[in-house]
Amino acid sequence: MNKSFWIVLALICAAYLAFWGALVVTTATFTTPLEMWKVLVSREIQYSTVLSLITCTVSALLSVIIAVPIGYLMSRRRFPGHALVDAALDIPIVLPPMVVGICLLMFFQTKFGQGIESVVPVTYTVGAVVLAQVVIAAAFAIRTMRGVFDHLASRPEDVAMTLGCTRWQAVWHVTLPSARRGMFAAGSIAWARSLGEFGPVLVFAGATRMKTEVLPTSVFLAWSAGELQQGVAVSLLMIAISMIVLMAIRMTGERA
């Protein structure tokens, strides 16, 4: 009886993974090793790969930096309007990504936005790629960090305060070390989300080759030009990169 329960769960898991495997294998049949090689050595794809890796890493770090204090606040403190703030933090998760891009574009057309642009140009730059990624990835990281702090007891922090710590010191010395794995998880989610971000990047940063082109943009450009094989090759490259990086992050997080 007990065995059949676990077998059913294992079968559901296996069917899900098998479907995913079938999707990847089917996609792979639409390209050739030669086309893959041509894609890997092309200057444009190398540029978009490097830009993707850099922007995703910066976005993941920024997302965690934003997510830790907000996640802590939402988890540990009840205040008037808490539920409203909680819902507002989820807006980037439920909004269509393209709308986020339009909102960013509109914001930087206002006087305030133009003021920022006059000091640091953002729209249609690499900065816009990072900002478009962070706006959405941070929402996922915040959700993750809130869950992490919800599961960490607050009592050790209280004890630390009776032992001579300020609240800042108690969080730094006691809570954050305990939340290390959670921070790695939040960073992984933010990184993965950033790698796949396309809509807001396209609207806010554009799709200029060798400038603001990240891997999803490369797929879009290849697809638009009718270069099916190249699009498939870049897609497979993205799958490989995301698997390698996420496994590396997970292994580092488990050792931490």
């Binding site: 050790p156 209280d158 305060m161 032992l163 001579g164 300020t166």
Partner: protein, 214 residues
């Protein structure tokens, strides 16, 4: 000495009005009461983790009502020990001393002394995971004593332990209080603990405290 005067605390589902307690210096007081009577809230008010709506908290001759928890000069042992999950036992015991930025050799000596005293010297390099309930409470006690507090607050420290382990810790608490000449307020709902440890026995009931020592 621990003295609280006319403490009032209101929460949506809980009320405590004009509660006063006086524990003379060097005495071991046990505060009893049913679950939900407000014992832990009272300890948290003495610790400075909660601010009362009115009333005063005095430790020794000092009014600490508005002081931060870290400057009150007390040690606090919560119910489950609340050990720091990522620190070794050595790190936990030395924590308060590191916060005071004492020299490393002084911290080392004090940690070793407390570990010997509480019978956990063999655990110094272990982390909390895998320690037994009794070991965890011993570590929490050593950690609370490290900065030589004049007052020790214990929140049901024996409630999750079996009787043999409880007996060992009761002896340790008696010895510790005697040797450190510390004022102790020990919260429990166990009559057995109260009879074994309490020089003064207090009962928190219906939002007020009365002395039931006799």
């Amino acid at each position: 000495m621990i003295r609280i005067e006319n403490i009032t605390w209101h929460a949506p589902a809980f009320r405590m009005e004009n509660v006063s307690i006086n524990v003379p210096s060097g005495k071991y007081a046990v505060l009893m009461g049913k679950t939900g009577a407000g014992k832990t809230t009272l300890l948290e008010i003495i610790c400075g983790l909660r601010r009362p709506q009115s009333g005063r908290v005095l430790l020794g001759d000092r009014d600490v009502t508005f002081d931060a928890p870290g400057v009150r000069g007390l040690g606090y042992v919560p119910q489950d020990g609340a050990l720091f999950p990522t620190m070794t036992v050595r790190g936990q015991i030395g924590f308060a001393l590191r916060m005071k930025q004492l020299p490393a050799d002084e911290i080392h000596t004090r940690v070793q002394q407390l570990a010997d005293e509480t019978g956990i010297a063999h655990l110094l390099d272990r982390k909390p995971q895998g320690l037994s309930g009794g070991e965890r409470q011993r570590v929490a006690l050593a950690r609370a004593l490290a900065a030589k507090p004049s007052v020790l607050l214990l929140d049901e420290p024996l409630s999750f332990l079996d009787e043999d382990t409880q007996d060992g810790l009761i002896s340790l608490l008696q010895r510790t209080q005697r040797e450190h000449q510390i004022t102790v307020l020990h919260v429990t709902h166990s009559k057995r603990e109260a009879e074994a440890l309490g020089e003064i026995r207090l009962l928190l009931e219906g939002g007020s405290v009365r002395d039931v020592s006799c």
